[in-house]
Symmetry: C4
Subunit: 246 residues, 4 copies
Amino acid sequence: KTFDIFLIAAIIISVLAVIADSVNALHPRYDDLLLALEWFFTIIFTVEYLARLYCSPHPWNYAKSFYGIIDLLAILPSYIALAITGAHYALVLRLLRILRVFRILKLLRYSAEANILARSILQSRRKIQIFLFFVLIIATIFGSLMFVVEGPENGFTSIPKGIYWAIVTITTVGYGDIVPQTIIGKGLAGVVMVIGYSIIAVPTGIITAELANELRLERSDKKCRNCGRAGHEMESQHCKFCGEYL
Amino acid sequence: KTFDIFLIAAIIISVLAVIADSVNALHPRYDDLLLALEWFFTIIFTVEYLARLYCSPHPWNYAKSFYGIIDLLAILPSYIALAITGAHYALVLRLLRILRVFRILKLLRYSAEANILARSILQSRRKIQIFLFFVLIIATIFGSLMFVVEGPENGFTSIPKGIYWAIVTITTVGYGDIVPQTIIGKGLAGVVMVIGYSIIAVPTGIITAELANELRLERSDKKCRNCGRAGHEMESQHCKFCGEYL
Amino acid sequence: KTFDIFLIAAIIISVLAVIADSVNALHPRYDDLLLALEWFFTIIFTVEYLARLYCSPHPWNYAKSFYGIIDLLAILPSYIALAITGAHYALVLRLLRILRVFRILKLLRYSAEANILARSILQSRRKIQIFLFFVLIIATIFGSLMFVVEGPENGFTSIPKGIYWAIVTITTVGYGDIVPQTIIGKGLAGVVMVIGYSIIAVPTGIITAELANELRLERSDKKCRNCGRAGHEMESQHCKFCGEYL
Amino acid sequence: KTFDIFLIAAIIISVLAVIADSVNALHPRYDDLLLALEWFFTIIFTVEYLARLYCSPHPWNYAKSFYGIIDLLAILPSYIALAITGAHYALVLRLLRILRVFRILKLLRYSAEANILARSILQSRRKIQIFLFFVLIIATIFGSLMFVVEGPENGFTSIPKGIYWAIVTITTVGYGDIVPQTIIGKGLAGVVMVIGYSIIAVPTGIITAELANELRLERSDKKCRNCGRAGHEMESQHCKFCGEYL
């Protein structure tokens, strides 16, 4: 328990150190402190990783699991950065330094509810994929149309830029860096906004409705003694498959 | 099956080719390759279209169906572009080239879930129409008011521009290209944002509620012959209350 | 029936005329046409209003009703504009010309579903009011804090401007005309965005849940023969108040 | 009752006075009036606070309660500002003047429905925390990636700035003050928008579903003594199935 709290603190401070490292103003002054902190936490996470590997009944299964990969990713960049020396690897080193920020994912292990949320996102995976697929099709078509209508002189220099504009618009982010200038373009943009906005209500509604159903049913964990199948509702008194009394 | 995967790949590569074609930097270098690809895919889709026409028991019904029109639209622009020659048709040719991007709609055929989503959007069609109608009325009224309040000197040069601003604001896109400058205008904008935002929750709620109902009603209407109670799930074979065979 | 379609067309063309009137480029050329159209439709709507007043069993009730006021508002501006002459009333005349756009509200009468939507918005009126009240309190507090943190040098010249920024941010419109510049201001803005965003999910959820309940219950219109009270569920066989068989 | 309305008016006018005080244009002219108003309301709220302390059976419990703290906060800044004199406390004085805006929270006491809303937000507290935690993790990871991809030359001068950008994007606010410039950055931004947008639907769905459950369960747990069936509404006095008195 105490060890858990210590590890959570270590993760948070370690990520804060990476973030502080990126702030230009602080960089030169606290360089040594941040380097010391960095190696201090790397060693702690290495010990943690080895301990987990050692304690696990199936070390290989742990290593392959989501948290195993996260734990490895939390320490690997520091060691690779050590191996690479040479000025022309500056970009690689910079990337490695930032990758340490992925340590924040280690926090997920300590939040039971985050796991529930993650699982329900995973269960809605298929729905979300189709939703993304839809958004992408709409974005491609309207992005291409805007490329023709507005043209390069109004910022729509290529179809990918048009698609980028369409995604920014459909998701209602609306940066305003690329904006329709012609009358037809503005009309089309209005159509994209309103249609996109009302179409998006439907998948949200489906996900909500399915989650509501799941929660409402609160299926019992009981398995039928006769046919062994689970998934019965709480109020059920008989197995819905074979009629056996539960 | 293999043929389906081949066709999906063909659709995606074909659309990517159209997109790549629009990127200025690539244009001169890969011109020949893109033209070759273009005709390769046009011929494939033409063969596919003719095959589908031939295999269909009612060719005319297929040709009139949603997918029939999509399939035709996927090949037509290339042939029309061939027929049109002459410098003064440059815009038409450019439009035809972009229309090929609609080929992406052919992908819808291969996603069963996308069809479900499309069908539920179609079922909410009436709701969405009324929603659009509402948004348009609100946008017209507030767009006109802003035109009076702000005037042409602050970017609101006409009522259509005011309506464009109102749609950008109600859908919470908020580009920031036209923004109220006067105090009254800012107050009115605040009202549009908050009122619009809270009113929009209602249609979303209605769609969600109806979809939830739809999903909930997937329960069979059958009543148990023994105890007379209904509300069984579709997959149930026995009454969940008394165990009687349904 | 035919008369209804004619009136709907009249309303739409009349509103389009007001919109066209505001477009600078068109103004001088089609001035006479628009004036003629304007008086043509004003006379039609006047005849309609008088006919409705005459046909109504209680003319005064109609005149006081929502649609009565809308119908009056659709014709009044034109007559007032006739009465007012003089250069120093230019602004009033301009306002009166735009007020004619409210004629679009006459369309609501012809859409049964729009009325259902309007009624469910009216039923959620109390919820929406509280929601607005909440948003206003949050906007006032965070707007004032930002005024202190950012100060006039970063665009937050007064608390009202801070409140305007807060509303733009909470509703996720995000114009970007006023934006936090200092580090503390950006942090505070992040808090406003995320907190506001997650708090807003709750009222939306409440409205959705209540609408879902309403739709699910689908209370019958039957009144109890004994106690005369209504509001029973569809599946009810006995009055829930007095036990009488329905 | 009359006293309540007087207090509500006092709160609103007092907050409006603070807001008016911040508007530069008004400041010098109405300085004396605002100061007089300020002390008038401070004395009223002080009397109210003392009266509540005196009337409460457990004064200490009231003082510790949410409303007790709000009531104290409403008067404290004015007295502290009186105690502090000296030019070098200008910033503190300015902050104290703005803190009086928190008086608006006193309004919450008078709205029963606002309390219901506040309570349901409080009940969803845990859900909202996890949601914030999720948003923060996603924002940290994508903010860091954008810092590497875009770099300081495109406005992403540090990871905190990247995180600020990510929060602005995920919550769909989209100010447009920091915007990706490179192609990779724009692609990554598109991913953040779409993924973030679809992931956010899930927690909203969970909150909605749970609230729907809460509202649905307002039905009593009582079972009918005659037919044994449950699911009656709270207001029911007779079983809806057999008419037995509950």
